[in-house]
Amino acid sequence: MFYLSRQTVSRHRSLYAGSFIALAVGVFLLGLAATATAATIAYSGPVARSITVTTLGGRDLEPRQVRVPLSDADVSGLQTVLSLVGTISGFITIFVIASTFAFAVASRRREIGLLRLIGATPSQVRRMVLGEVLVVALAASLTGAVLAQLATPLLLSKASYTELAPVKLEPASPWVPLAIAVGIGLVVAMLGARSAARRAGRVGPVDALREAALEPPRIGPVRITFGVLFLAGFITLLALIRPSTGEGVTPLAMFTPMLLVIALTLLAPVVVPWVGRLWALPLIAWTRVSGRLAQSNVVAAPRRSASLAAPILAISAIAGSMVLSLSFAADSAEATIRDTLRAPIVVEGFADLGEVPGVTAVDAGIPLQLIRISSDDAELEDAEGIDPAVASRTRDLTAISGDISRLTGNTVAVSKEMAGFDSYQVGDEIPVTFTDRSATKLRVVAVVKDAQGVNPSILIPLDLVRRHAPTAQPERIFVDGVDLTTLNEHLSGTTAHAVPAAEWEAEQAEGVREGNRLGLILLLGPAALYSAIAIANTLLMGSLQRRHEFITSRLLGATPAQIRRMVLWESGLVGAVALSLGTAITLTVGILIRHAMNSGLTDVPMTVPWAVLTGIAGICLTLAVGSALAPTTYILRRSQPSAAVD
């Protein structure tokens, strides 16, 4: 059957060109993520720049040695981003391949029926479709891998010396990572094509004889079951979005919509016509004939409409949710910073404020990093040395349990979030290693409210910092009891300067948003590019397949303008259906995340990135309509009505 697959692929080139490009880009992104990750793994900072510690181990865990790189040689930020990029690329690839092949099979029902008629068994047909996928996937994966290899040096030179990887990265041996990317590409393609192949196997020989281009609208029990399972998974994840989610917000904002996207895609043959009917109501009222035609085309071929809607739904839901959630996260961070800081003035930089008259509180906490060792890992954490007596006047250090005033000696106060993750309780001892390589155990004396941007997750006594990092200096000082001008006069001549607390808070919030923006571009940039290709691909394919229908309509007297209008409304309708589902997902996730993060906060500002969100919707819709109209226009220009006869 492989021989047949090869022939079919070369014949239906337009049908597979899209899958080829989509998969090649997918493997390109995966390959790039893989080679870059290999480069970060191969990177070895100077030996002095890392500390090796042994984890505690636990009931089922062997203690192990972990080499923790110190801050200025840390490439784990880049690794995290790369793994997320890889995940998104892989996800969208499965998606695109699945919908492309579902489409290819649906539009070749008669041909497959014919094969069955002349003696192909269902499993032979299945193998033929899988063979087609293999032909396309092999070619596409190898192309993607070669491109990735070519682009790796460029990516690494761009990524070097950035916030994410503050070191110089060199390309590592590409064979293993590229083999992994190609392997993933093939597996993903096969997974994506499995349901299409199975459906092809169910085409009966009579289908060759019936003019039934329209598939039966029923969807199988397996599909429904999985759809419902993913829906349940989505609801479970939603339930996980709770106050204290904290840092987990980014992955949750990414994975939660993914689950619902899968669920909705599985159930799409049911959902899409239903939503389509709804959207068609105003359209029909406005346009009469072409609107009605568009509606019946969308509703009568639910599978096809579902395939067309899937990529738009996927990217709009994922991008929308992440953009909105991260914006809401920044809002809540802003409110937290505002609520936590009590001092009216912040000095940025370090200066000795001892003899400024009137000063009642100088909270000069010293930041440092230390290695926190847990049962299965050891990580470099940001910590701050504070004087609890002063700090609890300048900031909100309300203890949820324990007593912050007992922060002396070998003790520590941890944030609620960290306590939640590692189930620390007051009285527990946390083993740590300082950057001077001395190891000790810190007793937890208090669990305090989360206050990212003001307090790091770990607070230790100031003395402890002075002992282990004698040269460390404060980076900002919270001050009370003096007015701004007096303070700035005093500071003239130093590098430090004082600003009102509100100004400092705004700067911090802006910093958070800035960081989010970078993350979004890194994460969504490739995915968006990819989805754009996918959307264009499916619609292009869809329109090219309808050549005969268009020409017949011309023969019946429809003008090219009428046909174009019909296609315009139809693709617009599919786009609107997908976008409305995407919007629903975005809103659900966004609202829940906002609700979760804002518990205990009042007066949280609300920043909705309207420009970005409408931009996403606009691009999706433009792409959808454009890539349906362009081939239609092309077909109409190229063919005379008489072509319908042959």
Partner: protein, 255 residues
């Protein structure tokens, strides 16, 4: 079957029927209501016979053919093909029976557009896992008069040529029964004659059985017997009729 003259071989009664239909009914159910397409058809197609099935549009001809070929399940009744009862078979067994024992020719030529004429003809053999020998393929192409078109694709052939490719494809597996549904429906009379002669040759030379649905009395006259179908029931038959007799029988049926 020794004679090559256009006299019809008489059916030897001791031979088992090539195809046996026993009390076939078929009811299509859909949202719009149910249609009784066949309402009890019993008939024996003798081995080596050439039977035409005629009847008004919607009388159930195509349905009969599809049930007889195991493409569709009859609602009740049994089909026995060469001693095998179709209703007991699963999809794979049915497919294997189809590719070894049956050949199909339909009005729409039903060729795979991506394959050359040669590959289209060789396909049924490849599907059985056999390697088609060049000689076999060229022999059947020769038989249908297309030996010089082996490298073309279906889109580069005329309708009649495409239909001959379809016949060559049906011939290559040497099936015992040919099913043809309006095989000449879209062809001019000259081309039709070629196609029908090919089918008749199959019954005369190789003892293959042909069941052909047609609307054309001239085409039906090539068969040794015409079976009339009306409203899902067999309404009668006519042996060795001339086109004029067949047309007359048809119009009395339509009245």
């Amino acid at each position: 079957m020794t004679s090559t003259a256009p006299t019809y071989p008489t059916v030897v009664p001791t031979q088992p029927p090539a195809l046996l239909l026993d009390g076939i009914t078929k009811t299509y159910r859909s949202k719009a209501g149910s249609v009784d397409a066949l309402r009890g058809v019993t008939y024996h197609f003798a081995q080596g016979s050439f039977t035409a099935v005629m009847g008004p549009s919607g009388s159930g001809k195509s349905t009969l053919l599809q049930c007889a070929a195991g493409l569709d399940q009859p609602t009740t009744g049994t089909v026995v093909l060469g001693g095998t009862t179709l209703s007991g078979l699963n999809e794979v067994a049915l497919t294997k029976l189809r590719r070894n024992e049956m050949g199909f020719v339909f009005q729409a030529y039903n060729l795979l557009p991506s394959l050359t004429v040669y590959d289209n003809v060789a396909l049924p053999l490849r599907l059985t896992g056999r390697r088609p020998s060049r000689g076999d393929v060229h022999r059947v192409l020769d038989q249908v008069g297309l030996q010089d078109k082996a490298k073309r694709r279906p889109a580069e052939l005329s309708g009649g040529q495409q239909q001959r490719v379809a016949i060559a494809r049906a011939l290559i597996t040497r099936p015992s029964v040919f099913f043809a549904d309006e095989p000449t429906g879209a062809l001019d009379s000259g081309t039709s004659r070629q196609i029908l002669s090919l089918l008749r040759e199959a019954t005369e030379r190789a003892g293959q059985t042909v069941v052909m649905v047609t609307h054309d009395p001239v085409a039906a006259a090539y068969a040794e017997r015409v079976l009339f179908l009306s409203d899902g029931l067999i309404a009668g038959h006519l042996d060795r009729g001339t086109p004029a007799q067949i047309a007359a029988a048809m119009s009395s049926l339509e009245r």
